[in-house]
């Protein structure tokens, strides 16, 4: 089984031009040898689909990428086989993952055409990052078989499926990690996990520790984002509103610091083999080098991911940060769906290489379902209710643990939202919400805002006054600030109602060009016969309007959970301090450090909203079946 090697890496800008590329001749040589060996052993086959010992130039790659983008409707492609899919294209494979692991046909300048697979595609900012890992010609062929299969495709569980291929290709996983890391560098958002302490709102990460202790202030300027105007804003309003997944491209970008990137690549993946993808560590080493003071103590086995040891005042900080996703329906037949994903961030300012042990208890009552740990952690027992954690903390802030849980408390914002279109351009709405019901001190809600997005209408005016808070409108949304920052509520619950009328500008029949599925959209025949008739059959004006609105709905990307624009809903955002919604907690007293040192343990908790949606009780709503345990 081969490990992870990278043949080449490219970064393309929104105009499909290569702005950065890096090839690894050592890996390429291995690939060439493998190809030759393969060629000897196998019969002559279609040149187009055979593994070629070639690597495209930047221009060739850029044009191949642009060509694919044109053919497949978007950079990612369709991902699912549909009526226009053709044999020998990614969507033919009929798996959504082909939007991330793509194929390119390269038309070489010397007239040779060859196929490049697997190209790992990651978008960050407005950049496309393509990473080509080294896979054996055998596996390449296995994919070509899938890619050109003549049958109806994709039955799970068959031999030589894409799944077993991916299982046996750790290099793809590695390439994704590389792509994400490079993406973070390109976009300049190298974020340290937030660790909150009571004294100061946020404590800096590794760099602060380093600069604080070593005293080089210049590094911290590195990550300052530079705003650059970029035309390619690809996200719709709804998707921006409804997503916490880090995968969505951001609309800001900045020029790439090529030098920094080059340095990073050469130190993180020497000869194309990724060894350390921690940006902070690499740049710290690059900047600081090692002094004699940094020599590791001979009796300790210093891990590779901890190049420097902390020196100074010792303490250890923990923060639980939870995101709550909720779909609130206020309907009898559909239960509300609430889930919490949380993480335990840690900053251990401890000298030497101590081991910290942290018992986790009460997991069952916290309804914790999934626990994942940082690689420095070792779990000595996996109990259902109790887990003992032993870790040797790295420098700086890190996520010690991630978990998924169900909510232990009632949702912090309860109630309903109703919107009814009384005419084509006018809707009556009603909110009745209860905030922080059943939450006692020290829970405090810092802010709470309700947004009604109308991405397909233009808001003209709004009538009505809320019982509390202020209302503002933008062109495509209405925003109701129930609790504004600085006036947070602690230990009490409030009730908020808001009824009124929202008026829209008359609809102009503008058609937004669809993004990804433009090909399919244009091909689907609009049958005037059907449309005429369907409009005649509907008596209810509301249904009629919905039908009318839905007709020109654009298909969403596969990365979206649902077609946001098809529904009316209100999105709630808030932040709560003073506790975790799941009930997950740690007891600072039980934290023990070996070798024992006297270090204070600080702990804080906060929760904020992810996708927290109040679906219009009078409209359609998306839902999913709940699994019942058999």
């Amino acid at each position: 089984m081969s490990s992870c090697s990278i043949r080449a890496l490219w970064i393309l800008n929104p105009q499909d031009a290569v702005v950065f590329s890096r090839r690894f001749p050592v890996v390429e040589r291995r690939w060439r040898l493998a190809c030759e060996k393969e060629k000897e052993s196998s019969a002559v086959e279609d040149y187009r689909y055979s593994a070629q010992p070639l690597l495209p130039t930047d221009v060739e790659l850029a044009s191949a990428f642009a060509e694919r983008k044109k053919r497949q409707g978007s950079a990612r492609g369709f991902g699912i086989r549909f009526s226009q899919s053709v044999q020998g294209s990614d969507s033919w494979v009929d798996d959504p993952i082909t939007r991330h692991i793509i194929t390119l046909y390269v038309n070489g300048e010397e007239g040779d055409e060859f196929m490049l697979w697997p190209l790992v595609l990651h978008t960050k900012g407005s950049y496309y990052i393509l990473v080509l890992p080294f896979v054996g010609p055998q596996q390449f062929k296995a994919y070509v078989r899938l890619f050109t299969r003549s049958d109806c495709g994709n039955s799970v569980g068959e031999e030589c499926s894409l799944s077993s291929l991916l299982l046996n290709l750790p290099c793809i996983t590695g390439a994704f990690m590389v792509a994400h890391t490079v993406g973070d560098m390109v976009a300049g958002d190298v974020q340290d996990p937030e660790v909150v302490v009571s004294s100061s709102p946020s404590v800096g990460g590794l760099l602060d520790s380093l600069t604080g202790s070593i005293g080089i202030p210049s590094i911290s300027a590195r990550a300052k984002p530079v705003a650059a105007p970029v035309a390619a804003s690809t996200t719709s309003g709804a998707s921006a509103a409804g997503n916490v997944v880090i995968d969505t491209p951001k609309s800001t970008s900045r020029p790439i610091d090529k030098e920094a990137l080059r340095t990073f690549i050469s130190s993180s993946m020497p000869f194309g083999t990724p060894l350390d993808l921690n940006i902070s560590n690499i740049s710290a080493i690059k900047t600081n080098g090692f002094s004699s003071a940094d020599l590791p103590p001979s009796d300790l086995k210093q891990p590779a991911w901890k190049p420097y040891l902390y020196k100074g005042k010792q303490r250890i900080l923990f923060t639980i940060h939870e995101f709550i996703n909720a779909a609130l329906y206020d309907r009898d037949e559909i239960p509300d769906a609430i889930s919490i994903s949380g993480q335990l961030n840690c900053k251990a300012e401890l000298e030497g290489l101590p081991d910290v042990s942290l018992p986790l208890t009460g997991l069952k009552s916290a309804h914790v379902e999934i626990l994942s740990f940082h690689h420095c952690a070792q779990v000595s027992e996996h109990g259902e209710d109790k887990q003992a954690l032993m870790f040797s903390p790295p420098l700086g802030n890190f996520v010690l643990m991630r978990y998924q849980a169900l909510s232990n408390l009632d949702p912090p914002v309860k109630g309903f939202y109703q919107l009814s279109m009384v005419s084509e351009d006018e809707g009556a709405f009603l909110f009745r919400l209860r905030l922080m019901e059943g939450y006692k001190a020290p829970f405090s809600m810092e802010f709470c805002t309700v947004t009604m997005p109308f991405p397909r209408r233009r808001v003209a005016s709004i009538d009505g006054n809320p019982s509390t808070g202020t209302v503002s409108t933008t062109e495509v949304s209405v925003e109701w600030k129930i609790i504004t920052s600085g006036r947070g509520i602690t230990g009490k619950s409030i009730e908020a109602t808001f009824s009124g009328t929202v008026r829209f500008l008359p609809r102009t029949s503008q058609r937004v060009p669809s993004r990804s599925m433009s090909v399919s959209a244009s091909v689907v025949e609009e049958d005037s016969d059907v449309e005429q008739d369907s409009s005649g059959n509907i008596v209810n004006i509301e249904e009629y309007l919905t039908e009318k609105m839905n007709k020109d709905l654009q298909a969403v990307d596969l990365e979206e959970p649902l077609c946001w624009q098809a529904y009316s809903y209100a999105k709630v955002s808030f932040k709560i301090f003073g506790g975790s919604l799941s009930g997950m907690s740690i007891d600072p007293k039980t934290v023990s450090i070996y070798p024992a040192v006297k270090a204070p343990v600080e702990f804080s908790m906060q929760a904020s909203s992810g996708d927290y949606i109040l679906w219009n009780t009078l409209g359609r709503c998306p839902f999913a079946a709940l699994a019942t345990v058999h």
Partner: protein, 865 residues
């Protein structure tokens, strides 16, 4: 290495991966000797599974897939559970959640069917906020679980219950799974939700009988048909199509995908059958029906489904369209009518003619008669014509031409198949030149005498083709024709002016005039109304081999069956023109003609009558209709235009058709008030009246007779000639019976009557018994010839006998009276006298070849103008 093995946590995740990949190769070698090494690796690294770093997860999976023996069942379950959970972790980027599901599905034990994911099912239920890609993948896993539940069969009675339970479970999994994309029912059909939903349908369906490596035949297809999921999807498709007609195109695509797959084609057809059986009866005809057309098309294409149901529905639909047609719906009528015809076309393409013939011809007949839109009517007519005229395989072939153009630019829409192809094909002069050498238009009845000349085009090179068919009569035709030359166009206007006042007539003359007036009143005046037509039956055929050489083979010439390999002509139009005065000759159309297979030693020239009935596909009968302005023989130029199978236009001229004088021979028109049994007498009277009118032009010469239509009139002007033929009587009678039987008005003279009656060919004529009287009274009257016309007696030896006929009265056998009408208003009267030259009648009968039998033949020809 020992250091690293001891503290794997000291490495960064990518470095750990490097280490493990090295270790696996080492352990792979060591495994044979030191089996414990794999267990050691497992213990050291399996803890990494709980890391949130995907690389570290994959490290464990690497070990597992390489050394799966070292992992116990418990470990495996742990790995599976962990992967299921990773997919649920929302903080992971989407790609890693997708990868986790892929890893799970790729686990070797799972692929073997040794492990089941069923216990983990709740983890794969998609949640509302899962990205659609993840939903799709989770649904894949659910389909996998459902398939394993569906196919695991239990035996024995106690397992029946369990089986029922599993069935319910499968349905529940399927329905629960689809809930998360249930918006596909009302979102536009192009939405991503819809794509995901139908992808899920597909995966659930074929999960029961997945593709096996390399084999196109699927042995488990029967299992699929019995499976719960198949039945569930069957009924679901029907209700989906009924309730959400917007989804019909998606259902069609879904079916297409199955139909295109070798392994699952059968499934697609079963589903189509289901739709045919259960959906069609529930549909009502109306404008809404159009949204179901995509499904109808699939049904029409499938030859496993009997097309009656669909055709009946479509026929009802056409009726509804016609009924609902109003001023504001004609665009709709057109569009829907065309679409229905499109489906009909597909039926023509994919079904055996016999299967669709009845229902389809009803539908098309209705359409081409009653449908409000003209274009639809036209197209329906064309389809109907093709259905009726072109044999099945050729029809299916040309219907497929649009899709597989060979040399012709593809037509933008089906209707244009019948439009004139681009002109560049039409002007293929080189190919058109030799058309007449392999496409033949021939007379069904050859002329007695091959016409070697034309009156107005004197030099046409047919001179060498002398007929030797009937030697004895060969000289007859030429002389009377030359007579007509001078007559050309007679100015009728001049004639109808009465130059002299009417004279007193006796009763006999009055009777004659009455008969003549009555007769001429039946003859149409071609200048004012449709003229009398003569018809020349012809046959069109062509030779396959030379045709194929020139125009290229049909694309499926390799087909083993003979008929398929033969070329065919489509939509042939034959146009005629002539320098002779035949009026305008309407063109003839032959919708379809198959080339004659080339047979060795097959001689083209002789007319093989038995061929006619053999296969009408090889020979098309063509009827040339002439409206002669004067009864003259002539030539007709023939031009042909046709489509070859590959769409080329064949055009060129064929051999001329000769028109002989005998083509002009018609029976006189019978006035409508003559009873059928009185016809022979009428003809007899007419014959005598005409004979009289010519003979005694003094009585009738100044008389004019108005024609039908009332505007023109004609006068009678006779020309008479006498001929002597030296042929055996037997030949004469044979020739008359063969060629002139319909025109014989009367046979007079006992010996002759006896012979003719015995032969039984000539019937319904007036039989004159008294030959002696007749001969005495009439023959003499024939002797004084008309003085203004030169008598032509071609035989020099006859010169000496010229005065003998009156002398040999006693040897008179009898007389034929023949009345021939020549359009537009000419007549030919024959009085043929057969005489014995030998004394013995018996001699004549017994020795027909006897050259001593001499017969006098007297021809009197009269022409009226």
């Amino acid at each position: 290495m020992a250091f690293l093995l001891e503290r794997p946590h000291a490495l960064t995740p990518p470095a750990t991966m490097e280490l493990v990949s090295m270790l696996t190769s080492i352990a792979g070698v060591l495994e044979q000797r030191v089996p414990a090494v794999t267990a050691l690796l497992k213990v050291q690294f399996s803890g990494l599974l709980y890391s949130y770093d995907p690389i570290l997860c994959h490290v464990v999976l690497m070990l597992y897939s390489r050394f799966s023996d070292a992992f116990s069942g418990e470990d495996e379950r742990g790995i599976a559970r962990r992967l299921a959970l990773v997919a649920r972790e929302t903080h992971h980027p989407l790609i890693f959640r997708l990868l986790a599901l892929h890893w799970l599905l790729g686990l070797p034990r799972l692929a073997d069917g040794k492990a089941s994911l069923a216990p983990l099912t709740p983890n794969f239920y998609p949640t509302v906020f899962d990205p659609l890609a993840l939903k799709a993948k989770k649904l894949d896993v659910l389909s996998c679980i459902a398939a394993s539940l569906d196919v695991s069969r239990g035996e024995g009675k106690e397992e029946e219950e369990e089986k029922e339970g599993r069935k319910a479970q499968v349905v529940k999994l399927f329905e629960d799974g689809l809930v998360c994309v249930s918006a596909f029912k009302w979102l536009p059909p192009r939405s991503t939700e819809t794509l995901v939903a139908f992808r899920t349908l597909h995966n659930f369906l074929i999960g029961v009988a997945p593709h096996r490596n390399g084999s196109s035949e699927n042995s488990e297809i029967g299992v699929l048909m019995d499976s719960t999921i198949f039945h569930t999807i069957q009924s679901m498709l029907v209700s989906l199509a009924l309730e959400h007609h917007g989804l019909v195109p998606m259902i069609a695509t879904f079916l297409d995908r199955l139909l295109a797959c070798k392994a699952h084609r059968q499934v697609g057809e079963w589903l189509l059958q289901t739709l045919d059986e259960h959906l069609l009866p529930k549909l009502e005809s109306g404008y809404q029906l159009v949204s179901y057309f995509p499904i109808f098309e699939r049904i029409a294409e499938s030859d496993t489904i009997p097309p009656h149901g669909l055709l009946e529905l479509l026929a009802r639909h056409m009726v509804t369209l016609s009924e609902k047609h109003g001023p504001d719906t004609w665009l709709r009528s057109w569009s829907q009518g065309s679409k229905v015809l499109g489906i009909c076309r597909m039926m023509l393409k994919h079904h055996h003619g016999s299967r669709v013939f009845l229902a389809l011809s009803h539908l098309l007949t209705f359409t081409c008669q009653f449908f409000p839109d003209l274009e639809v009517r036209d197209n329906a007519r064309i389809y109907l014509r093709m259905l009726l005229c072109i044999p099945g395989k050729k029809l299916r072939h040309i219907m497929n031409l649009v899709e597989q153009p060979s040399g012709v630019s593809p037509s933008p829409h089906p209707g244009s198949l019948f439009q004139v192809p681009s002109p560049r094909h039409a002007q293929d002069l080189k190919k058109s030149v030799g058309v007449s050498s392999y496409i033949h238009l021939e007379r069904v009845i050859p002329l007695l005498v091959k016409q070697s000349w034309s009156l107005t085009l004197p030099n046409l090179s047919n001179g060498d083709s002398k007929s030797s068919y009937v030697e004895g009569i060969k000289d007859i035709s030429a002389p009377p024709s030359t007579e007509m030359e001078g007559e050309g166009e007679v100015d009728i206007e001049r004639i109808i002016l009465p130059k002299e006042p009417l004279r007193v007539m006796d009763s006999k003359v009055a009777e004659i005039l009455g008969v003549l007036r009555r007769h001429f009143a039946c003859i149409p005046d071609y200048r004012h109304m449709p003229a009398i037509k003569i018809r020349i039956p012809c046959r069109l055929r062509f030779d396959s081999d030379p045709f194929t050489r020139v125009w290229g083979a049909a694309s499926f010439a390799l087909d083993s069956e003979e008929v398929d390999g033969l070329p065919a002509l489509y939509a042939t139009t034959i146009t005629f023109s002539s320098t002779s005065k035949y009026g305008s000759i309407p063109p003839c159309r032959v919708p379809f003609l198959l080339g004659e297979p080339s047979r060795t030693g097959f001689d083209i020239v002789p007319v093989d009558d038995s061929c006619e009935g053999e296969d009408s596909s090889f020979r098309a009968s063509v009827m040339i209709e002439l409206e002669p302005r004067e009864p003259v023989p002539g030539l007709i130029d023939v031009a042909i235009k046709a489509n070859a199978e590959n769409g080329q236009v064949i055009s060129g001229s064929l051999q001329n058709i000769t028109v002989g004088i005998e083509d002009m021979f018609l029976k006189a028109v019978i006035p409508p008030d003559i009873a059928e049994d009185r016809v022979p007498e009428y003809y007899m009277d007419l014959f005598h009246a005409l004979w009289e009118a010519c003979g005694n032009s003094a009585n009738t010469g100044r008389e004019t007779f108005p024609l039908s239509g009332g505007k023109g009139a004609v006068a009678i002007n006779g020309t008479r000639s006498v001929k002597l033929l030296e042929v055996p009587a037997y030949s004469l009678i044979r020739a008359i019976e063969r060629y002139l039987a319909p025109f014989v008005v009367s046979v007079i003279g006992n010996p002759l009557v006896n012979v003719v009656k015995d032969n039984g060919v000539i019937r319904d004529v007036v039989w004159g018994e008294d030959s002696e009287n007749f001969a005495d009274s009439n023959v003499g009257a024939l002797v004084p010839y008309s003085d203004n016309v030169p008598l032509q007696l071609p035989y020099t030896e006859g010169e000496s006998d010229a005065d003998s006929p009156p002398q040999v009265n006693k040897r008179n056998m009898g007389i034929f009276l023949v009345l021939i009408f020549l359009p537009p208003w000419f007549h030919l009267l024959f009085q043929m006298e057969a005489r014995f030259t030998s004394a013995a009648w018996q001699d004549f009968v017994l020795s027909a070849k006897d050259a001593h039998c001499r017969i006098w033949l007297l021809i009197t020809m009269q022409r009226t103008i």
